[in-house]
Symmetry: C2
Subunit: 348 residues, 2 copies
């Protein structure tokens, strides 16, 4: 390995000067162009790459940020991470992605690892359950800029990027209502999940405003679970149950796309065709939704955008830390968008 001293020797200057020149430090102002050229040429010739450990040891900077995902098998995560990664790449930061597997011990272990590696910021993608105050405590202690995606903690000392679930709920029901559907079934999210209540609120308030009656026999709740794939299973079972009841419906609002897939499977097995016999709408707009047959109508979250936004927030946070200012906690709520595809259709 070629060190800064090798470059110093080769160029005929001291390692101090080499460091100053190559980092374009403030003192580089006083160094004549010809010296700089010489040093840069030596460095390039020798293929000098500074040792990041030595550098970080001294300078306290790592150009690294940690990204903790609660469950990477959840397709919802991928576009978000893409957004994070793209934004960080442009800013010359390296993300370290950890997959927590929805497991507290793993979360703590990975947090430790990231902190040990002195990540300059933390982005937590809390796409599934179990987030609570404990975690918050650990994070606050760490005192590095942190943003949560997908959940807002009650204590608002940590930044967050979320989607406007209430608006999303409204978009879904409004769409079906406009298509003429009146007998609509619902599979709501698990009660413990933060997204569930506001989505339902959006639905209910639209219903109230439009004199749409919500039949309690057509309302189901996903059970709690720590496995994103389980919402497919549950969507299937609950829809199966709905079909068995005597209360008919012409459309179904699923809590998310996975649930919608389960619902479609159940409807299909019951001999009902989607969308001809029953319209189905999802929520999230994961990649698979566009590829499904029928292509899924859904409320689309700006996932990649959310990732980028999160990076913006922590980047500002890092700057605050560098300037020894206190980092403010920001809370951004993005608007979802209705994406109409083939799983919903006008009521005949």
């Amino acid at each position: 390995m070629v060190t800064i001293r090798d470059v110093a020797k080769d160029s005929g200057f001291s390692s101090t000067t080499v460091s100053i020149v190559l980092n374009n430090a403030p003192l580089a102002r006083y160094i004549p162009a010809v010296t700089k050229k010489r040093i840069e040429k030596s460095a390039k010739k020798l293929g000098y790459r500074p040792n990041l450990f030595a550098r970080s040891l001294r300078s306290k900077r790592t150009h690294t940020v940690g990204a903790m995902v609660f469950d990477l098998t959840d397709p919802y995560c991928i576009p978000i991470f893409r957004g994070i990664e793209s934004a960080l790449y442009q800013a010359s930061y390296l993300p370290i992605l950890t997959d927590v597997h929805n497991d507290r011990a793993r979360f703590e272990r990975y947090l430790e690892m990231l902190l040990d590696r002195r990540v300059e910021a933390l982005i937590v993608l809390a796409n599934w359950l179990f987030v609570n105050i404990d975690v918050l405590g650990d994070l606050e202690k760490s005192s590095i800029p942190t943003v949560m995606i997908g959940q807002e903690l009650e204590n608002d000392s940590i930044s967050s990027v979320t989607v406007d679930n209430e608006l999303g709920g409204r978009l879904a029901i409004e769409h079906l209502h406009l298509l003429g559907h009146r007998k609509i079934a619902f599979i709501r999210g698990p009660k413990t999940l933060g997204d569930s209540a506001p989505r339902w609120k959006g639905i209910r308030s639209f219903a109230k405003a439009n004199n749409l009656e919500l039949d309690p026999h057509l309302i189901m709740d996903l059970p709690e679970s720590r496995d994103p794939a389980s919402s497919f299973e549950s969507g299937f079972k609950l829809t199966d149950e709905l079909v068995g009841r005597k209360h008919s419906f012409t459309a179904l609002v699923a809590f998310d796309d996975m649930t919608a897939f389960g619902a479609i499977r159940a409807l299909s097995q019951a001999g009902l065709r989607v969308p001809e016999d029953c319209s189905v709408i999802g929520f999230d707009d994961i990649a698979a939704s566009a590829l499904y047959t029928p292509a899924l109508t859904t409320v689309s979250q700006p996932l990649e955008e959310m990732g980028k936004l999160a990076v913006g927030i922590v980047a500002d946070g890092i700057n605050c830390v560098l300037e020894k200012k206190t980092v403010p906690a920001l809370h951004r709520k993005l608007a979802p968008e209705l994406v109409v595809r083939s799983s919903t259709i006008k009521l005949r």
Copy 2:
């Protein structure tokens, strides 16, 4: 931050002794238990965490391995990465995952970043095109244990983990043949993709052995592309074209699951039902395949297993490096498995 010197001061020993004890270095043999206890207690009391940069600077170890994925949006990657991550986690290594976006510049940049961070090994998930000798050159230069998943380089100096594509091809066609299908359409992989030829070879050799005639009018090729989602599009278009031709078929072998999804969409739009009017079989067994309606029959790759195997190989490689032995290049080829679901059915 509490340093080793703080622990030394608190425990009343020198930092040397503290280091020796906490790392359980060879010299720790000579240190009496009572001293060890005292030091460990101090360390715990103060919450001492060694500075990894200082440590790595001196000891040359990082307990980090790089994982380079060519396109993270490809659902095929996720289970593999899960396998990698799980295995590394158990071995107390931290993976650094980079998403190359199928872009050469990005690949090189990320490789640089990983090498700068002194990853102790490299796992390259070459799930899509463009891998060629250039890359190989860069990797060899780096002289750290490396394994490629999903591709085997001609030059066999780099380890690889692949699936037995030929066997997979055979499994697919055999399944359809057993179900009684004789008029079978094929959508083959892009010519430049390493997986394409062996899969086709498996199919052809089975056909030959069983007197099954392969109608050239029913054979299509996916175009080259660097976007995994594109195989859905292409699968759709090519199937649409197949349906338009006058040569009928009762089953279709898709190059991969994405292609199969596209095919199903096309068949469905043409008024053909899957599997009643046409059976469809895929390849890969990505997560979505089980959730599709109809659930996709497919040739399943042991993705998670492949990730774990790759970790095993590089772990051995790391040990070789530590013991200054030369690292051998291993080539493991795993058997895929037929997973029968609902998209294929016995010919009436």
